[in-house]
Symmetry: C2
Subunit: 136 residues, 2 copies
DNA sequence: GTAGATGCAAAGTATTTGCGACAAG
DNA sequence: CTTGTCGCAAATACTTTGCATCTAC
């Protein structure tokens, strides 16, 4: 049930090198949404011989295999997170950069309906809310 | 009522140079969501002396002034569109790249509700649907 | 007249890639 | 073995910037 990234690689026939294992571990443990630079820093602490090119190649590979999700939040840098079975969207605090994950099935349904209305089948979607904490 | 980009510049105290007028015109006439390269091409046809640096500087300025919207759709390049009073979201055909604009007030309301639930005031949001045309 | 805009080319970022050496299946 | 991966540095792609010149207001 708890499909780790490593297990998914085996399933999908992705060769499991030492480097990939380290990167998989780092991504699994990440509670945030790190960019490649950040991943590289964390990975380097475990194995300083891993190059940033490998990190780039690996996250791209994982993304193509549907193992991790890539986000292009504001800021130019792509950020990644492990893909779990439970889909969620993001609420981003524009002041602090903090990211809150949420799910809203009602919105999900409406999205399907909209796509349907235009004659499309939804293959993916992205919903980002940008907000500021209330005074209250 | 029909605030042109030029009029908005005057209102906001943005200096109206010849270059900016040309860029404003091109953006106003664009029915699609061009990236800077594409804008530069169109602008060049009108005045070939305008540099791409100016296009970059101008779209950035317009964005900061709230005159145009910047989108980071898949593909690395930022794409722009004139901001009209009517907000809308995007449905992107993953096969053709075609972009359909839509509005769904129900979804808009739910977004506010979600932000509210977490104690946030919504300042912006981004909703992109990616789909493929149905066989039907 | 003066603050701000432009063009050009050089400098930044973020990401990708060619290549010889190397390792997983 | 053989195919695919890695590290490295060079190359790309997109965007920003320093500086001297020019222009809208």
């Amino acid at each position: 049930m708890k499909d780790t990234i490593e297990e998914k690689c085996l399933t999908k026939g992705v060769k499991l090198t030492d480097q990939r294992k380290v990167i998989a571990k780092v991504m699994s443990e990440a509670k945030d949404h790190p960019d490649v630079d950040e991943l590289y820093k964390r990975v380097s602490k475990i194995d300083s011989k891993i190059s940033i090119a490998t990190v780039y190649r690996t996250v791209k590979l994982f993304e193509e295999e549907g193992i991790v999700a890539k986000h292009d939040f504001k800021g130019g840098k792509a950020r990644y997170e492990e893909l779990s079975e439970s889909h969620h969207d993001h609420l981003i605090d524009v002041k602090t950069g903090e990211i809150i994950e949420f799910v809203d099935n009602e919105i999900e349904q409406l999205q399907k309906k909209v796509a349907d209305k235009f004659g499309y089948d939804l293959v993916d979607h992205k919903l980002e809310l940008y907000g500021v904490k209330k005074k209250s």
